[in-house]
Amino acid sequence: MQYAILCYHDEDVVWSWTKEQDQAVMGRLAIVQDRLTKAGRLGPSLRLLPTTAATTLRKTQDPPLVIDGPFAETKEQLLGFYVVDVANLEEALDIARELAAANPGGAYELRPVAVYFPDRRGTAG
């Protein structure tokens, strides 16, 4: 069975960390991640950029509406996510619109990725 572990924290605090504080946390996480990698249990993981860089595609209407900022409602729940490779925001929105056409309702939040680690399960000796 697979589990997704979703990370929540106060971004004001996290993005105010000094380089040293940030590196200290990342260093501690790397120890856990290395152990999981060696055991062949760590899938893809990533760190997102702040919500200020987010754009939201509301697909409750046709055509869907593009809104600045993160998805802020609380009556919907996070049901899944995609990672896509694109040159810019427009390309990401094009993909989101295509997905929206296939599955209207709800919203997609488009958030740039800060750091991406690919699936490391195949790398275990």
Partner: protein, 417 residues
């Protein structure tokens, strides 16, 4: 989760919004600052014991407000309020207040607090010093170090600036649309000044921390005003410029020009964030000076090698900036792109008319010298570089030009007869 470092970070992050809300309650900066200070002291006692509150901002506002009211009542010899423990330990006491402090209040509160620091009577450096003290909560010692002045002098400067701001008649009612956009523009300019104060300093000095602080304030502003393309542009511009911090100076502290920088040293997280923001801003089709400057920085950031730089695009963007905000400095910058697109001769012709207006500007002579050198006019180049050195603002700038001069001298010495 309640170690001192975490609490410190949480208090710093909560400060602008908590202090801004307290300012709205008390309409007096000193009272608001005292209330916030008192709330912080109580947080340092209560949070390690009870765990961090769900909403640190709401907690600080509630406790700060009660502490200040308590003080006022004590002075008026009335009954004191119940001790703060009875409020903070009942967990849910924060909830109604958190709901009350919705985003719309927060945004005008924080904007007001920032706008206070932009008093037109205050010189730019005092506006920045005041913002660092009030909004960011930096100590006078930290600010004095960043500005390379004595602590006593800085203390005096901030006290005077505060007094002037306090006399000002700042509206506490919710601002109208026009007033709000005027405030945003003034605050954006102040944040960019703060950034440049750090950016112009050499690498490794205490002043470079100001860049990070400016970015933090811009992100805060952007979270509150999510659909403002110029705020996106400003944030993107600072992120993209700051992404090159580690590559802008060599080990000896000397300037490394953009095209000589090791692009692997650029901070790609900051670049990704900046590019996402400029993409967002451009969707609004309301170009402004920050957006255009950010778009120029983005074209540099997108080039994997200097040779990949879209100089024609940069030339067009500078042309747009010249239209929007005519200035000889913008034309000077444009000339660098023009040199790449249409040749150095054309670029030199473009900057010659600027001479009377830029006769005191270091970069004018630096750029002019470089153009003349490219055209093989070594003697004229030497004169320009000499003028640049005389006008250098930092030792790094002077050293950079001196390297050009040394090379010229070496070439001259090596030249036959």
């Amino acid at each position: 989760m309640t170690d001192p470092a975490w609490i410190d970070a949480a208090l710093t992050a909560a400060r602008p919004q908590a202090l801004a809300a307290l300012l709205r309650y008390f309409r007096d900066l000193d009272t608001a600052e005292e209330a916030f200070q008192e709330a912080c002291l109580r947080a340092l006692q209560a949070w390690p014991r009870n765990g961090p509150p769900r909403d640190p901002r709401a907690w600080l506002i509630l406790v700060g407000r009660n502490a200040a009211l308590d003080g006022v009542r004590r002075r008026a010899r009335q009954d004191p309020l119940p001790p703060e423990e009875t409020l903070s330990d009942t967990g849910d006491a924060e909830a109604p207040l958190a709901e009350m402090l919705d985003q719309t209040h927060y945004r005008d509160d924080v904007l007001r607090l920032l706008f206070m620091c932009c008093h037109p009577d205050l010189p730019a450096t005092q506006q920045i010093a005041l913002a660092l003290r009030i909004v960011s909560g930096l100590s006078v010692t930290q600010i004095a170090r960043a500005f390379l002045v004595g602590e006593a002098a800085m203390e005096q400067r901030i006290t005077r600036a505060k007094a002037r701001v306090a006399r000002g008649n700042l509206g506490f009612e919710t601002p109208g649309a026009v007033e709000r956009s005027e405030r945003l523009a003034a605050v954006a300019a102040m944040i960019y000044l703060l950034f440049n104060e750090g950016y112009s300093a050499g690498d490794g000095s205490a002043r470079t921390e100001l860049c990070g602080e400016a970015i933090r304030l811009a992100r805060l502003l952007l979270r509150l005003f999510q659909a403002e393309p110029e705020v996106m542009g400003l944030t993107a511009l600072m992120l993209l410029q700051h992404s090159r911090a580690a590559a802008r100076f060599d080990a000896a502290g000397e300037i490394v020009l953009l095209e000589d920088q090791d692009r692997a040293c650029w901070d790609h997280k900051l670049i990704a964030e900046g590019l996402a923001l400029i993409d967002k801003a451009m969707r609004h089709r309301q170009p402004g000076p920050y957006q255009i400057q950010a778009a120029i920085a983005a074209l540099h950031a997108r080039a994997a090698r200097p040779a990949d730089t879209d100089w024609a695009g940069i030339d067009l963007l500078y042309a747009a900036l010249e239209q929007l905000q005519p200035s000889p400095v913008v034309t000077l910058n444009r000339a660098v792109a023009v040199a790449k697109v249409r040749g150095t001769e054309a670029a030199l012709a473009m900057i010659e008319p600027l001479a009377p207006r830029l006769s005191g500007y270091f970069h004018f002579f630096g750029v002019r010298g470089a153009f003349l050198l490219q055209l093989g006019r070594k003697e004229a180049a030497r004169v320009a570089f000499d003028q640049a050195i005389a006008l250098a603002n930092t030792p790094a700038e002077a050293a950079h030009i001196r390297r050009h001069l040394d090379r010229l001298m070496r070439d001259a010495a090596a030249a036959p007869g």
